[in-house]
Symmetry: C2
Subunit: 236 residues, 2 copies
DNA sequence: CCGGCGGTGGCACTCGGTGTGCATAATGAG
DNA sequence: CTCATTATGCACACCGAGTGCCACCGCCGG
């Protein structure tokens, strides 16, 4: 950690230095009352160097979102056999979730900051929007065959992102204790269930006087073995 | 229209003057290349007055969103008998849609601007987020009785906003010709159908050998007369 | 005629962000 | 070992957004 000589992680320590200095000052004097000069003075570097590592003052608060977005796009570019589009979108949201889980203490500090500084909240929203746009693009490709594919793609993407953020916020409010997934997955599952492809719906028709245990049995077998003996849903 | 003497609309003309001047300069020289001094020089007013009417340079591009948000909140505060929560949320989105429809030419010009200026896009997103938050707050109250009410409220709000924006964008890309609702309503309907309260689902069970025309008839009567002889969904 | 009073303009200042030129290593060729 | 090249950080100057302060002007009642 003091040398950062590990191959593959060639980030100069100055980046982390600036983030640490900035967060200390932000939490002590507030975001607005802290100038770039204060940060670079505490970090012991030149003012110009700050903008070499962060394009703006807001970016120092979200130092890893760029990587997370790239990870999510990479996840969407893989193929996920046997998973419908909505499930893949939820998986992509979980990729971002893991980024938050990597450093709970930092995530909680940042959450406290974004909650009280409108400018940071606005910046965070624009970052989240990029996730949503990536999801919507993926879903639009997957839903290309459907007549309402465009609207569906955007509505699903927005729902997935909103559910993810809802669960994430509740985890952050708890102070980052426990598993993130325990908060995020239920919300994500709700979205996945309600937006599941209509073609995946099981319609079971029986005589009205069929014994209940037989109905249950047939429902169970139908739900357990999906996508086996019928053409799958449209995959662009 | 030339005098704006109508009581109730006491906006001083300087506001509209600044908006007109700003848009002319933005579309001609670009947003970034236009300074506040350029705007106030063209409008013939003092620089200080600009910030009296608009808190920031971005706000001059969205002069009516504050009013639209207030209108939407007002709509949500009314009570809408016989409409489920998701339908009311879609109605609230249509309130915002009408704001865009009030001045199609202006909306189209603004759309061209926000598409190519990242700063304006980011600002627009933060504005849209306030609509979404208002919707989510309303839906959270309506869904308070449901165990997954919170996640559901946020997912629905996000879906409604995304669908509205999807339809709106397609209308804006067409140059603002035709009815906005023709683009927005189908997308909104998709969200409303998929998120409709589970209690509103009609389950019809018949003998397998029931004549088709009888089945159709019973389905129709069930769909035509909703919420009549059963307790409605939880309304806090 | 006079003294508040609301709206406006002018001025100076802070601060975020950018372009430029210079100094200081680190690297590689001879 | 020395020199040239490159990269990296730094100091300085500059621009423009946004703010605080005060002077000004027209309008009102007294």
């Amino acid at each position: 950690m003091s040398q950062t000589k590990d191959p593959g992680a060639e980030r100069p320590p100055m980046r982390d230095l600036l983030v640490a200095a900035a967060f200390d000052l932000f939490t002590e004097h507030g975001y607005e009352n802290t100038t770039i000069d204060d940060i670079v003075r505490l970090a012991g570097v030149g003012r110009r160097s700050f903008f070499r590592y962060f394009p703006s003052k807001e970016d120092v608060v979200f130092p890893d979102h760029e990587r997370a977005l790239a990870d999510m796009v990479g996840y969407l570019d893989q193929d996920h056999p046997g998973q419908d589009a909505v499930t893949v979108a939820c998986g992509a949201a979980r990729v971002v979730m893991r980024m938050y889980a990597e450093n709970p203490a930092f995530s909680v500090r940042r959450y406290a900051l974004t909650r009280k500084v409108p400018a940071l909240k606005a910046y965070e929203i624009s970052v989240v929007w990029r996730y949503e746009r990536a999801l919507a693009g993926y879903l639009e490709r997957r839903f290309a065959a459907l007549p309402d594919g465009g609207a569906r793609a955007h509505a699903v993407a927005a729902g997935v992102v909103a559910a993810h953020n809802y669960g994430l916020r509740s985890w952050l409010r708890s102070g980052g204790s426990g598993e993130v997934a325990a908060s995020v997955d239920p919300a994500l599952d709700l979205v996945r269930r309600t937006w599941r492809d209509p073609e995946d719906t099981v319609v079971l028709i029986t005589r009205a006087d069929t014994p209940l245990w037989q109905v249950v049995q047939r429902v169970e077998t139908a739900l357990r073995a999906p996508d086996q003996d019928r053409p799958g849903p449209a995959r662009d």
